[in-house]
């Protein structure tokens, strides 16, 4: 089915079930319980999960397969967002043309940057992509203000000349983004006992697109083209000796991954029609690198896991404060309770980035294969079969 083998099909189906049931899975706690703040099943966060999932999947096609570490991928995300918002301003509030334009423009942008950057490899490639991304960021802030609206960010206004559609709704508001009339922000709430589940149209659109991109990435990983990219990673010199020019392949991978980023940017703008230059800053590029590595670069599911993991804990950790901690550790003796809270305090709330940094370092040092490798190690620990010592110890991440 779908041209996948059994293993991949199972993976795709699991991901499909998880994303489709996310409003249930992410809402395990009743709304009136103390744990309700750890629910992640609200539209805004779920959208971010899948959008960053798409971004990370795309990044992984470049980094995971070819080993080219791009430090400027956020530029494509930003370009995608800007073009989508312009489409909303000029054409219509339908998300389809916006997303298409976002992908096309970011694809063109990727051809340009990729053509230049891919002339070098290794650290030079990282610096070149970083330089291009910083250039785009700086330009978006300064000279390109007529297009990007500078620091304020590009937003919809009441006098946008929308060709297909109205500039303002009947009651004088800004029209909302929709898919052929289905508003992206429309949410159906289902109350089951003390639980409240939210089903958001925008989330399901993003989730479907994420599944499609995930499927496409499986196909790329399994295709002869994917094999070629892996060959580039393992030994480019040998590839040259066999008479093959790796540049068209790497460029294709770069453009595909740039278009994924553009798609993510377009979706981001479709969910919330504004775009700002800070989306292009190199810290944003660093974030997608973190996601891929944390989840497991070069694996299929890793980047999605990493994106979900980082976005979930970013949200949850930021919400924990000292009061919550005191409640948790109330069972400890007073002095000990204060000590524990004092120790944990720097890592929560605003200190989330500290936790992320430490976590990231630990993963790079001890678990180069990311969460996927961690999962495999745990499985191996508990599997009945004694560890296959005969085989080389190199951990091959599952794909």
């Amino acid at each position: 089915m779908l041209g996948l083998n059994k293993h991949d099909r199972t993976l795709l189906i699991i991901v499909a079930i998880l994303t489709m049931c996310a409003p249930f899975i992410l809402n395990p706690f009743p709304t009136d319980s103390g744990m309700a703040q750890f629910n992640a099943g609200y539209p805004d966060l779920m959208q971010r999960f899948v959008i960053f999932g798409i971004f990370a999947i795309g990044f992984n096609i470049l980094f995971g397969l070819t080993g080219y570490l791009s430090f400027g991928h956020a530029a494509f995300l930003g370009v995608g967002s800007y073009s989508a918002v312009w489409m909303f301003k000029l054409l219509s509030m339908n998300v389809i043309p916006a997303i298409l334009l976002a992908m096309i423009i970011s694809g063109l942008f990727a051809v340009l940057i990729g053509y230049v950057s891919l002339r070098r490899s290794g650290i030079y490639f990282s610096i070149l992509t970083l330089a291009f991304a910083q250039m785009s960021f700086n330009l978006a802030y300064s000279v390109l203000t007529p297009i990007t609206n500078g620091e304020t960010g590009l937003q919809l206004t009441l006098d946008d000349p929308r060709i297909l559609g109205v500039s303002a709704t009947a009651d004088g508001g800004i029209p909302v983004t929709s898919l052929f009339g289905l508003e992206m922000r429309s949410t159906y709430e289902m109350a089951v006992g003390p639980w409240a589940f939210q089903f958001n149209a925008g989330y399901y659109l993003c989730a479907l697109i994420m599944l499609a991109s995930f499927y496409l990435s499986i196909r790329i990983f399994r295709s002869p083209f994917g094999m070629m990219l892996r060959a580039v990673k393992s030994n480019q010199t040998r590839l040259n000796y066999t008479g093959l020019n790796p540049r068209p392949y790497t460029l294709a991978a770069f453009v595909i991954s740039g278009m994924y980023a553009g798609l993510a940017g377009g979706l981001m703008a479709s969910m919330d029609p504004l775009a700002g230059a800070e989306r292009m800053q190199w810290t944003a590029s660093g974030e997608v690198v973190l996601m891929s590595i944390l989840g497991g670069a070069g694996t299929l599911i890793g980047p999605v896991l990493g994106a979900g993991f980082i976005k979930y804990f970013e949200n949850i950790f930021s919400k924990i404060n000292d009061t919550v901690l005191h409640n948790w550790f109330a069972f400890l003796p007073d002095g000990l309770e204060d000590a524990v809270v004092f120790i944990i305090h720097p890592f929560i709330g605003k200190g989330w980035h500290l936790t992320l940094g430490i976590l990231f370092m630990l993963v790079v040092i001890f678990l180069p294969g990311g969460l996927v490798e961690g999962g495999q190690r745990i499985r191996r620990l508990f599997s009945k079969k004694p560890a296959d010592d005969g085989k080389p110890a190199a951990t091959k991440p599952a794909e």
Partner: protein
């Protein structure tokens, strides 16, 4: 003409900061072969050494002065820094005033210690791994260091003043026969430029004229052979890492009065410093210094109004643009050596 001289001068102080950081980066890269993304964080820690020292010197105790009243009519509380109480008001005040230059001595041991811990504790384990892994782990470390500093000092920039003697500006124009006030330049930036040339000079002299430096240079050229001769090259490279950290830290200490330190200043400088290293040529110390000053001066030229009106936005992108052109036309950078990180 006076405008050109002014721009060159303006470029020098930023250029010296770039050159110092790039020098440290190149030292680490040339000796240990590690791409250190945490080097900007070392610069930032240096700047915060200056902040810390000035805070320590300003620790005060309160006394109640019965003779004066504050606006509520209560007896006025007078804060006296301990140093003023211990060393007398004049010496104490001078100490506080000179806190930034004093921080040089305060920061050197701290930075060397930080460098040692970083190298022995973390980077040592990454020699054999891919450059991408080195970038990633030092990037993580940079985030951690940055967040730790943010936790202790907050997210706002902390103004740290230069000594009173160096406040104000120097009128260069008069010296060269231009109109007065045509070329004015803050004293502290002049000090910064002098200080950085001194540091750069001493690093080069240390490598060129001492036995230790000779061994290190030999190790940079061929690590294995030096090791076979019975020299513990790893130990010397660790010391070089400490020195590189100290150079970055000193650059940070002296930069504190120019730009109030905040926790992300390291990252801002790091990206540019990497560009500088690449332009200068990976692994080439003179190249790093040359490229640092060159790009600093180019940046300030590009921010001249005449040039900005010619090519709008050029001031924002000039460094990156130069880097891209250099990387594509001269892959080894300005002064890169053959065979060092060409791919």
């Amino acid at each position: 003409m006076d405008a050109i001289i002014l721009q060159i001068l303006n470029g020098l102080d930023k250029g010296s900061a770039y050159a110092l950081i790039a020098l440290g980066l190149t030292l680490i890269f040339g000796t240990l072969g590690v791409v250190n993304f945490a080097h900007g964080a070392l610069f930032m820690i240096g700047a915060f050494c200056a902040v810390t020292l000035s805070k320590i010197l300003n620790i005060s105790f309160e006394t109640i002065d019965e003779t004066q009243v504050d606006f509520l009519g209560n007896p006025l509380k007078v804060k006296t820094p301990y140093v003023e109480a211990w060393f007398g008001p004049e010496t104490g005040a001078a100490l506080i005033d000179w806190s930034v230059p004093l921080a040089i001595f305060f920061s050197i041991p701290i930075m060397i210690a930080v460098g040692f811990i970083m190298e022995r504790g973390l980077i040592k384990h990454f020699y054999k791994r891919a450059h991408a892994d080195q970038i990633l782990v030092t990037f993580g470390l940079a985030i951690v260091l940055q967040e730790v500093v943010k936790y202790f000092y907050g997210a706002n920039p902390i103004p740290t003043g230069a000594p009173d003697v160096f406040k104000g500006s120097f009128d260069f124009g008069v010296l060269f026969g231009f109109d007065p006030n045509a070329i004015i330049y803050p004293y502290w930036r002049l000090v910064y430029f002098g200080f950085s040339t001194l540091i750069i000079g001493s690093v080069f002299a240390f490598l060129q004229f001492t036995t230790f430096g000779m061994v290190v240079r030999a190790g940079m050229a061929d690590r294995e052979t030096v090791g076979l001769l019975g020299i513990n090259i790893d130990k010397r490279f660790t010391i070089m890492f400490g020195i590189a950290a100290a150079v970055a830290g000193l650059a940070g200490v002296m930069y504190a009065p120019i730009n109030s330190p905040n926790y992300h200043m390291g990252m801002d400088f790091l990206v540019l410093s990497f560009v500088v290293v690449v332009v200068g040529g990976m692994g080439s110390l003179p190249g790093a210094v040359l490229a640092g000053f060159l790009l600093g001066v180019l940046e300030s030229f590009a921010s001249m109004n005449e040039i900005k009106s010619l090519i709008p936005g050029i001031d924002q992108i000039i460094i990156y643009l130069v880097a891209i052109i250099i990387l594509l036309t001269r892959p080894r950078g300005l002064m890169g050596r053959k065979g060092v990180m060409e791919e």
